[in-house]
Amino acid sequence: MSMILNYLPLFILAVLVGFFIITSVILSGFIGPKNPNTTKSSPYECGIIPEDTARKKFPIKFYPVAMLFVVFDVELVFIYPWAVVFNKLGVSGYVEMVIFILILLVGYLYILKRGGFEWEKRNF
């Protein structure tokens, strides 16, 4: 129970943020003048005129990048608690993490050598 109360400021902040967003969107809808025309209603793309729909097939190249990102993100999650208790774990904790990182280093070297980080060239 006391733990939940610890998050009370966070909760109040979240409510305030939500309130601010919702009211500003609604208020600008009511107060602001509305003169719609074709150019204004089209989606804004850095000033370039949109050519066709955005729902097109994207190259698969993006996907492996995201997958590798997830893998190393998960690695990071393991390092986080390790760093917090590093002093208490002593040498064994250090060795454990070295093994963990070495195994993933093999993965890193593998990606590097097989061209997983290259965007254009594909010389496998």
Partner: protein
């Protein structure tokens, strides 16, 4: 001392890492170097396992254990991986596939299997299962652009993730019911709070059986098997139907062994039903298969059904009979897939059952060995398959499952039809189509070893069964 405990699994992982990096980093990689390194690693692993024989250890309260049960299974995993590595060599060569990744993934999968067999902790079993499944998924679509292989990989991946999540859910319920994920402590935790968390326990065991039942393809969870076995490269099919299945059984036997005392006999009927439908469906559907890999897939489903027969009663005899049956099954199955693998020219494979017509006239060596393996799978006397079934049915009768044995015998007769049909086609039929066969020493040597093992275990089974009876069960208790 605990360093020794990890040696078998550590060596196979290390070998996998070395093979992977050697292939990726070096410029002029000789392919046989990779094979040699992998096999050397496996041999060293087996030697370390042998050192640990009869020296039961437990690390971190059952987080990782090394008892006779786990050692027998580890050696079996390592041997079947070694044979798969050997028979893959000409296949990879002809299809121009990468050796480094392939061998490394097989070694990692082997490590996963060893983890599954040598732990009392459900979390480690789960992670071992993942470490086994993930490489298998990649290996299933290893030969890209091949018919069915992508479809097979996607089916396998999605369904195995599904089953793993059921397994995880089971672990969560187990923790909720007993406050531990160590299966050796479950009974004690339950007995201190008698009857309190029993329903949770039942849900948990049901979910755990579901998760592992997927791996060993028990009938309601078997649907992936034929498609994946068909779509995967043939050596990988051999690996999946032997090593991977064995790992599932190892984990299942260990979990049931510890948990059955806690749930008494609530699940006996469930296992009887599962066993009957698994055997019957596997065998009946196998009859109508035209493709040899699909036929062997259904036959492997049926064989799981036979083993399930005895998994409701745990005594030295049942465990020994189940493991002996599994050994006999993997020997014959590896051999059969090895022969299926030889019927190809370069990257074109001949997988129809009719392609076996007239093989005896053209290649008596292959036909003879295929006949031995088929006899063994069917359970015909001079081979190991007969003794395996004999021990299994014997144990089942002794434990009062006479009806199960009758069903099993009927199934054996059904199964004999489709196994012997291959023998019939090989010896009695004329060749209908010109089917080439590529046989290299890498396939020949394992085939000879497997063939000899099949006959040897058929003639002298008693010593090994007696060994299992005396050594396995006692250390299982730790």
């Amino acid at each position: 001392m605990f360093i020794y405990l990890f040696m078998p699994v550590f060596i196979s992982v290390l070998t996998g890492l070395i093979v992977l990096l050697y292939d990726a980093l070096m410029i002029n990689v000789r392919k046989w170097h990779l094979l040699f390194i992998s096999l050397a690693g496996i041999v060293i692993s087996i030697l370390y396992s042998a050192i640990l024989w009869k020296l039961p250890f437990s690390f971190m309260n059952g987080m990782f254990v090394s008892d006779n049960f786990s050692i027998i299974f580890s050696v079996l995993f390592l041997l079947s991986s070694a044979i798969v590595l050997l028979i893959s060599y000409p296949y990879l060569n002809d299809n121009n596939l990468n050796f480094g990744e392939y061998y490394a993934l097989i070694l990692f999968a082997t490590a996963g299997m060893i983890f599954m067999a040598s732990t009392l902790n459900l979390i480690v079993i789960y992670l071992g299962l993942e470490l086994l499944t993930l490489p298998l998924v990649i290996l299933t679509c290893f030969k890209k652009g091949r018919d069915f292989s992508h479809e097979a990989a996607i089916k396998f991946f999605i369904l195995s993730v599904f089953s793993s999540s059921f397994f995880l859910f089971g672990i969560a319920f187990m923790f909720g019911a007993t406050g531990t994920v160590n299966i050796a402590q479950v009974v004690m935790a339950l007995s201190t709070h008698k009857g309190i968390s029993f329903p949770y326990m039942l849900i948990s065991v049901g979910l755990l059986i579901l998760g592992l039942g997927f791996k060993i393809s028990i009938v309601p969870f078997h649907i992936w098997t034929p498609d994946v076995y068909h779509g995967a490269p043939t050596p990988i099919t051999a690996f999946m139907s032997t090593g991977a299945k064995l790992a599932g059984f190892a984990a299942l036997i260990r979990i049931l062994f510890y948990i059955f005392p806690a749930i008494h006999s609530s699940l006996t009927e469930v296992f009887i039903v599962l066993s009957v439908i698994t055997m019957t469906l596997g065998n009946i559907v196998a009859i109508s298969q035209k493709n040899i890999k699909r036929m062997l897939a259904y036959s492997s489903i049926a064989h799981s059904g036979y083993v399930l027969m005895v998994l409701t009663v745990f005594s030295p005899a049942t465990v020994a009979a189940a493991i002996f049956y599994l050994i006999v099954y993997i020997i014959a199955n590896l051999g059969a897939f090895g022969i299926v693998l030889t019927l190809r020219q370069k990257d074109k494979e001949y997988l129809d059952i009719t392609h076996f017509s007239g093989l005896a006239g053209k290649n008596p060596f292959l036909a003879g060995f295929m006949a031995v393996f088929m006899f063994s799978l069917a359970g015909i006397p001079p081979t190991a398959g007969f003794m395996g079934k004999f021990y299994l049915f014997n144990v089942a009768v002794n434990n009062g499952f006479t009806i199960l044995v009758i069903v099993g015998l009927i199934n054996t007769v059904i199964a004999a039809y489709y196994y012997l049909r291959i023998v019939y086609l090989m010896y009695m039929k004329k060749e209908t189509e010109n089917v080439p066969s590529t046989i290299s020493p890498f396939v020949k040597i394992p085939l000879i070893i497997l063939g000899i093992a099949t006959v040897f275990f058929g003639v002298f089974p008693s010593s090994i069964v007696a060994l299992f009876k005396t050594t396995l069960f006692l250390t299982l208790k730790l």
